[in-house]
Amino acid sequence: MLYALCFLLFMIGLYCAVVKKNMVKITIGILIMEYAVNLFLIMLGYRLGGRAPIVGKEDLAGAGGQVSDLFVSRCVDPLPQALVLTAIVISLGSLALMISICIRTYEKYGTFDITKIRRLRG
């Protein structure tokens, strides 16, 4: 059910990116799609009643610095979180690129409407 909501959010972003003609709205649609994918990945690693995967002093067992079994059985999966952090960084870079393209286009043509940008001027 919750995964279907993620898919719905992705479809909203896809609709916004495909149908709208304003460049800023297309940028926002692409961002909504990225956030839907991030939400989906985070929810894949979720565990009911789980805790954050941060090792404290009380989670260590033995002298060798091993993490206790109780901690492993209760904490959520940290791998999707690391993946999503990387995806957020990449989406930040692509957002900067898209906004700079929007700024240059508006500077050159005076409009954000992609149907009015027909001529390629050198």
């Binding site: 090792v55 404290g56 260590l60 960084v89 700024i103 508006y106 500077e107």
Partner: protein, 166 residues
Amino acid sequence: MAQEEKIANGVKGMTVIVKTISSWVKMLIILFGIYIVITGHLTPGGGFAGGVILASSYVLLMLAFGREFVEENLSLPVASKLDCLGAFLFALIAILGFVLSGSFFANFLFQKYLPGKVLELVSAGTIPLSNIAIGLKVGASLFLIILIFSICCKDFKPGAPVNGKE
């Protein structure tokens, strides 16, 4: 003293209240960013979050004092060099792992030279060094992005033809 004069009679930027408060708060933000970067292997945070906090301190200064004040402190070529230095350090750590231990990104300090104990500040080998490199890279590049947007929109005329054509 020179900085207080600039606060008092600066024309650019926001009001005196915002300038005074941001000149107090900026060092705290920078310290918090450095703390997040350095203890990234023990607590939540790390290179990216700390780098964003470091960049946001300079963005605060840019909003309060204007772009020229920030460019005097951390000019665009210096920030670009810091950006490249962060990426270079990260690649250097990765390749040193390949040279010294046989695999890419191998934690060569942890195995041989720096045993350390778990949950101490000096404990994780090359991971804090990588965090510092990432923090430098992210902070400088995020600062550069916002600075370049600010420079780009300096004399912004919508619809004006570029290069004087038409």
